[in-house]
Structures are given as structure tokens and as C-alpha cells.
């Protein structure tokens, strides 16, 4: 244990110096990040509080639903924590350069594993806990618990809860690493994912009996079945149940139950920790060698995609080269296209839910109709902001230290910007347009509304891509290879804020035009709004690109 103590002492000192330096050098970035986190917590708190107050008005049913939401929330967080631990563990316990160094030291594998266990628990948990905090604060407020008491219960219950998730995640990764001797990791995780979804589906089929509350509300038998399920205890053998019961019993003053569930959490955390460490004693080093060997053995297959250049023969040679390079770089970065697919999946979920929602649009009052326009177009705009900030903003930075190739070539910088601009536009605009058209179809919108939405989305796409690309060049980070870190930097956050502000203005302009055309059409006002939209878009499309180009010209490599 003296190794651990020594390393933690050094680490604590180093982290303190790092934090002190970063506060000095990047106060804006830290300030904005803290503001965002605070905003998420406050925003989540307000949203949950409104929902909780609404539920309380429904009497006993509402209270039962609230308790169930609390339990479900922490269950979802538990599974997210396991997933997060698995993802983080691969870098923490295998790929970290520190591991290679410490394996050459006289430190036992178990001690090294314990060190990485705690590190992994910290790295994988903090962001997910930010999600759980608003729900817990609201629940505590509803149950009238004091702030200090809430903090004590949270700490007492949360730490073992986290440790259990970490233990599960690390045990899985140790076993998967061993199996990767015979199978590719990708295949193993795919298999595990399918198995997990299958188990999940089985659980819901056997415990919930397929209640479809939406649409069945008018049916008393369905409601009765739902209430019966609500009163039954959820699955009692997972830490999220124990954690939520610990909290609920604390609010009710049931000390014995608090001790029981607290004890269960603590025991399972210690058991998980010891089990994982025991397994690591046998498997850690061998799995480390397997992972190292796998990365050397499994080189990407030889590739020659130069035939793709023939498909681009309509373009000038320089554009052809740029499109060729950017396309291949994107396709060959799983981190990029997997997230792109996830975005697509979320859109599909939105559209499927919209298609199945029984919204009789024409029977709604004008105010509700306007709200729906607002949310629908706002969602399309929000989706574009997410896409552009995640994929377009980092584009210039991702040139990385290879930027010398473009700067030393006889290549006008405007070509670089234009190529990336149009590539992004021809990928993202059709997606945004598809959302708008399909959602308008499901909401039975008129042709006028659909046309207006198309025009507005066209302008929004051009503006948001320009904003993300231009500011991405102004705040470029050529030394950072991780696109997610680039997007979440200070420049990325500023871009998101400006983009959301822009979308807010456009949504309001669109709603105003729709509203004004419905009443006595006030053409003067409509013309004014349209002129404002034109000026806003001219500025948003042209200015960031100019600034970005200037930044790239001034760049000295």
C-alpha cells in the first residue's frame, strides 16, 4: 500500500499544480465550462421540479410515479456508469503510457490495478453524476430533506454505488481483453450489446406486460394494469434499487431500512472491489500483453481507395484531393462516424415517436399550433447546432500538425474553406431537411409552412456551418487529435452559444411570419422581419469565414 500512498501523494501535488496553472492560463475556458455545468444542473432542476410539482397534483398516483422515476433515473445512470467505466477502462488500464512504465516497476499487478480502479471510477463518473444530481435535488426537496442531510446520504450511498459500477465495468473489460485473444474486440462488444438488449427486452416483457400508456389512456383496464405494475417493487437485486431505497427510506425516517440498504451497498462495493482485484491478479498482465499484441498484429488491412478519385473527376484537382482526403479521414475514424450514426439514431427515434403520436393538429388552438411549430423547427435548428458544433467546428483543428501540407502547397486558403463548407453542407443539409419535411408531414402542415421551413432551414444550415467552420479556424487547436475535446473547448462552447442564439432568432422570425400571415397579413412587418433575416444571415454566413481565413493566413507553423 505504500506504493499507492506514494503515488497518490505525487499525483495530488501534480494535479494541484495543473489546476492552478490551468486556472491562470485559461480562466475563460474554466469559467465557461463551470457555467455550462451549473446551467445543466439548474436547468435540469427547474425542469424536474416542474414535472414533480405536476405529479404531486395528481395525488397518490403522482407520488408513486415520482418514486418510480427516481428509481428509473438512478437505474439508467447505473447502466450508463457501467458503460462509461468500460469505455474509460480501456484507456486507463491498458493504453495509458503510465501503465507501461509502472509495469516495469516493482509494483504488484494488484496494486497497479487498485490505482487504476480509483482513477477509472473518478474519470468515468463525474459527468454522469451531473445528470443525476438535478433529479436527486428535486426528489430531496419534494421529500423535504435538508441540504446537509441530503449531502450526507448522497455521499454515504453514492460512493459504494459508483464502486459497484466500476467493479462491474472493470471485470467485464478484463474478461473481454482475455477473449480478444481469439476474437476482435468489436465483435465481442457487439455480441455483449445484443445480449444486453435482449435481456433488457426480456425483463420488460416479463415484468411490465407491455403497457402502452400513450394511446391506451382511455382504456381503464390498461390503466389498472399500469397501476398494478407501479405498486410492485422493481428489480431488487441491483445497486440502483438499493441506492434509491436508501434515499427514500431516509426521507421517511426508516433507520433500519436505511442501515439495510446502506449495508448492502457497502458490502457489494467491497465485494466488487475485492473480486475485481482478485481477477486482476490473475488476468491483468496477461490481458495487457494480449491487448498490446493485438494492436501490433491487427494492423488495418492494406487500402488503396484511389479509385474513389475517379468518382470526383468533375472537381478540379485540388478540390478532388481535398474531398478525397477529408472523406477518407472521416470514414476511417470510427469515433466520428459512430457518433454520426448515433445522431441519426436519435433523429429516427424522434421521427418515429412523432409519427406515432396522435396529434390532431387541425383541432388544436392557434397557440398550441404555434408552440408545435416552434418546437419542431427549433428541434431541427438545435439538431443542426449539435451536428455543426460536433463535426464541423473541429474540421480545421483536425488537420492537426499536418496543416503544413496544405499551407506549403500552392493551394488558396479559400479552397480549403470552401471545400470543407460545401462538403459539410451537402451532408448535413439533407439530414436537417429530411427531419423538417417528415415532421411537417406527420404534423399535417400546409405547403406554405413546409416551403417556409425549407427556406429557413437552408439559411440556417449555411449560417451554422459558416459559424462553426470560421470560429473553428479562429480557435483552432492543432495539437488536439480528439474531436470531442476540440468541440468542448472554450471556442467550441462560444460557437454553440452563438449558434443557439442565432437559431433562437431564426425560430422567432419564422414563428412571427407564420403568425402574421394567419392574422390580417401585415406585409410591412413581414417585410421588415424578412429584411432582418437576410441581414442576420449575410453577417452570419460571411463574417465567420472571413475571420477564419484571416486566422489561417496569420498562422505561423
Amino acid at each position: 500500500m505504500s506504493y499507492l500512498a506514494g503515488i497518490y501523494r505525487i499525483r495530488t501535488g501534480a494535479n494541484f499544480v495543473f489546476l492552478r496553472d490551468i486556472l491562470r492560463k485559461k480562466p475563460l475556458e474554466i469559467g465557461v465550462s463551470l457555467l455550462i455545468i451549473l446551467g445543466i444542473i439548474l436547468g435540469g432542476y427547474t425542469l424536474f421540479l416542474r414535472g414533480a410539482n405536476f405529479l404531486l397534483l395528481q395525488g397518490e398516483i403522482g407520488r408513486l410515479v415520482l418514486d418510480r422515476i427516481f428509481y428509473l433515473g438512478w437505474t439508467i445512470i447505473f447502466y450508463l456508469l457501467i458503460l462509461s467505466n468500460i469505455i474509460t477502462a480501456f484507456s486507463t488500464i491498458y493504453r495509458s503510457p503510465e501503465v507501461s512504465f509502472l509495469l516495469t516497476s516493482p509494483m504488484s499487478y494488484k496494486t497497479l490495478f487498485r490505482l487504476k480502479y480509483l482513477e477509472n471510477a473518478l474519470y468515468s463518473s463525474w459527468a454522469i453524476l451531473v445528470l443525476g444530481l438535478p433529479l436527486t435535488l428535486v426528489y430531496g426537496r419534494i421529500k423535504e430533506i435538508g441540504a446537509v442531510e441530503m449531502l450526507v446520504v448522497l455521499l454515504a450511498g453514492l460512493l459504494p454505488y459508483l464502486f459497484v459500477a466500476t467493479a462491474v465495468g472493470l471485470i467485464i473489460i478484463l474478461i473481454v481483453a482475455q477473449i480478444s485473444r481469439w476474437f476482435q474486440m468489436r465483435s465481442i462488444f457487439l455480441f455483449l450489446g445484443v445480449m444486453f438488449l435482449g435481456l433488457f427486452r426480456l425483463y420488460f416483457m416479463t415484468s411490465q406486460r407491455g403497457i402502452n400508456l400513450v394511446g391506451d389512456l382511455g382504456n381503464f383496464r390498461a390503466l389498472d394494469r399500469y397501476l398494478f405494475n407501479l405498486s410492485q417493487p422493481p428489480f431488487p437485486f441491483i445497486p440502483s434499487y438499493w441506492f434509491s431505497e436508501l434515499f427514500v427510506n431516509f426521507t421517511q425516517g426508516n433507520i433500519l431500512d436505511v442501515a439495510l440498504f446502506g449495508g448492502l451497498l457497502l458490502f457489494s462495493a467491497l465485494l466488487g472491489f475485492e473480486l475485481a482485484t482478485l481477477l486482476a491478479g490473475r488476468l491483468y498482465f496477461s490481458s495487457f500483453q494480449i491487448v498490446e499484441g493485438t494492436s501490433i498484429r491487427r494492423r488495418p488491412k492494406p487500402t488503396d481507395s484511389t479509385a474513389f478519385l475517379k468518382q470526383l473527376r468533375q472537381l478540379t484537382p485540388q478540390w478532388r484531393g481535398l474531398v478525397f482526403k477529408d472523406s477518407l479521414e472521416f470514414i476511417r475514424t470510427p469515433q466520428q462516424w459512430v457518433q454520426f450514426i448515433l445522431f441519426g439514431f436519435l433523429i429516427a427515434v424522434y421521427l418515429i415517436n412523432l409519427s406515432r403520436a396522435d396529434i390532431r393538429f387541425s383541432t388544436l388552438k392557434p397557440m398550441w399550433q404555434t408552440m408545435i411549430y416552434f418546437f419542431n423547427f427549433g428541434f431541427s435548428g438545435f439538431f443542426m447546432v449539435m451536428l455543426t458544433s460536433r463535426f464541423v467546428y473541429p474540421i480545421i483543428s483536425l488537420e492537426g500538425r499536418a496543416i503544413w501540407i496544405l499551407r506549403s502547397a500552392p493551394l488558396p486558403l479559400t479552397h480549403v474553406f470552401r471545400e470543407k463548407f460545401w462538403l459539410a453542407f451537402f451532408v448535413f443539409f439533407p439530414m436537417a431537411e429530411a427531419i423538417a419535411l417528415m415532421s411537417n408531414l406527420y404534423l399535417s402542415q400546409s405547403y406554405f409552412i413546409s416551403l417556409l421551413t425549407t427556406v429557413f432551414l437552408l439559411l440556417t444550415s449555411l449560417a451554422l456551418i459558416s459559424l462553426a467552420l470560421g470560429l473553428g479556424a479562429v480557435f483552432a487547436q492543432y495539437h488536439e487529435p480528439n474531436p470531442m475535446k476540440i468541440s468542448s473547448s472554450a471556442g467550441g462552447i462560444i460557437t454553440i452559444i452563438l449558434s443557439l442564439f442565432y437559431v433562437g432568432l431564426m425560430v422567432n422570425a419564422l414563428i412571427a411570419i407564420i403568425y402574421l400571415t394567419r392574422q390580417d397579413p401585415q406585409y410591412c412587418l413581414i417585410t421588415l422581419i424578412v429584411e432582418g433575416v437576410v441581414i442576420l444571415n449575410l453577417v452570419t454566413i460571411l463574417l465567420p469565414l472571413r475571420l477564419g481565413r484571416k486566422a489561417l493566413l496569420k498562422l505561423e507553423i
Binding site: P302, D304, L309, K325, R401, W404, L406, S408
Partner: protein, 247 residues
């Protein structure tokens, strides 16, 4: 031809390049020799347009790179030390990318590949991703990518970095062939053997200033016949530092 006139570059209080003037004729192999931090890389980056000088001018075959950068860059082939490339592209994809950036046709690119890839012994690795290349392989790939577009000015920063002896021999041969074909070759190095073996002329730079300039014959007149370039170089640096030379 490369012509530098009163070239100066400062970074805050540091004068990295201090009023340098020199000419490299067509077909000449010119070495810029100096210790770490002498200003070699800064000079090179100004020549290829990656940095702008604070004062002075740079002409490549008569074209001012600051006034007409695109035309000037069309003639230049640049090989940095420790080049960062696109790790997810394969070697052959990278060569096609460079060929397209220099507006070559597919036929020209293929001719260049057929000519230089075997010479640089890259055939075996050409379809592998650059991310899996060793430093030497990357360096050879960058050389191939530079040669295929037939630059009339070659600018190379530390040409032998990461190269094994056989590859180093091949590069030296290729550089001599390029010079013989009329290309102006400007290379920077702190490897005295490379400078001595390859160069028609050498400039010794220290703290941003050229200390000595000339062919090997002319430099030998400065230091005795019995001394070698290494001794002379160290003696010169020590003089500049006001120290006794450690020979």
C-alpha cells in the same frame, strides 16, 4: 534559384533570423549548417511560406513568395524534419493527394510514383496506413511525394532524420541527381558529414546570423588543411560564444 535578401524574423525579444542574405543558384546543393536554435528551421519556414519575415524578401526563381505565394509554392518541394502526415491515409493515397494539390494529372502522378517509389523502396508499404509507418518510412514517403511533382526548388530540413544507412545513401543519390537536373537544393542540417559530403556551398549560421559562407575549398582556406569541418565549426562557435574551443 533561391534568393534571400536582408531576411529578418523576431519572436518577441528573440531575433531568430538576423538580416540574412544569400543566393542559391539552379543546380546548386546548398547546406545551412548550425547548432540547435541557430535559426535554420525558421529560415526554411520563411522560404516555403509557412512564416512571414518581419523584414526582407524571398525570391524563388524570381518570384516573390510574399507577393505571389501560389506561383512561388508551385515550384517548391518542402520536406520538414519529423513530418506529421495523415495517419489514416495509405502511402499511395497520400501520394495522390499531393499530386492533386499540385494540380498534376492522374497519368503524371502515376509516372512519378513508378519512378520514385521503387527507388525509395516503398512498394511493400504503399498500401499500408501511414499511421503504422516508422519514422524512416514516413521520411521516405515525404521525399517521394515531393519528388513526384518535379519541383525546381527543394527545401529540406534535416534530410537524414530517421533514415537507416541504406536509405540515407539513396536520399543522397537522389539529391545529387536533382541538383544535376538543375534543381536548387537548400538543406539545413546539424550533421557535418552530410554537409561536407553533399554540398557545393555551406553557410554556417549561429544565433540567426551567418558566420561563414562558401564552398568547402573556400572554407578550408579559413581553417587549416589539417583541420576538418567539425573542428572548424566548433572553433567558430566557441569564438562566437567567447569561449575556448573544446577540440
Amino acid at each position: 534559384m533561391i534568393e534571400l535578401t536582408n531576411l529578418t524574423k523576431t519572436f518577441g525579444d528573440l531575433i531568430a533570423v538576423n538580416n540574412i542574405s544569400l543566393k542559391v543558384a539552379s543546380g546548386e546543393l546548398f547546406s545551412f549548417l548550425g547548432p540547435n536554435g541557430a535559426g535554420k528551421t525558421t529560415t526554411i519556414k520563411m522560404i516555403v511560406g509557412l512564416m512571414s519575415p518581419d523584414n526582407g524578401s524571398i525570391h524563388l526563381n524570381g518570384i516573390d513568395i510574399q507577393k505571389d505565394p501560389l506561383t512561388a509554392k508551385r515550384q517548391v518541394g518542402y520536406i520538414p524534419d519529423n513530418a506529421f502526415l495523415y495517419p489514416r491515409l495509405s502511402g499511395i493515397e497520400y501520394l495522390h493527394l499531393i499530386g492533386n494539390l499540385y494540380e498534376m494529372t492522374a497519368v503524371e502522378i502515376q509516372e512519378g510514383i513508378d519512378r520514385f517509389v521503387p527507388r525509395l523502396e516503398l512498394e511493400q508499404w504503399l498500401k499500408d496506413r501511414i499511421g503504422g509507418y516508422s519514422q524512416g518510412m514516413k521520411q521516405r514517403l515525404v521525399f517521394a511525394a515531393t519528388f513526384i511533382h518535379h519541383p525546381s526548388v527543394l527545401v529540406i530540413d534535416e534530410p537524414m532524420v530517421g533514415l537507416d544507412p541504406k536509405s540515407a545513401r539513396i536520399i543522397k543519390q537522389l539529391l545529387r541527381e536533382q541538383a544535376a537536373a538543375g534543381t536548387s537544393v537548400f538543406l539545413s542540417t546539424h550533421n557535418l558529414n552530410v554537409a561536407e559530403e553533399l554540398s557545393d556551398r555551406i553557410a554556417i549560421i549561429h544565433k540567426g546570423q551567418i558566420l561563414r559562407f562558401g564552398s568547402m575549398t573556400e572554407l578550408r582556406l579559413s581553417f587549416g588543411e589539417d583541420d576538418n569541418l567539425e573542428d572548424f565549426f566548433l572553433h567558430l562557435l566557441a569564438q562566437e560564444e567567447g569561449q575556448e574551443p573544446d577540440l
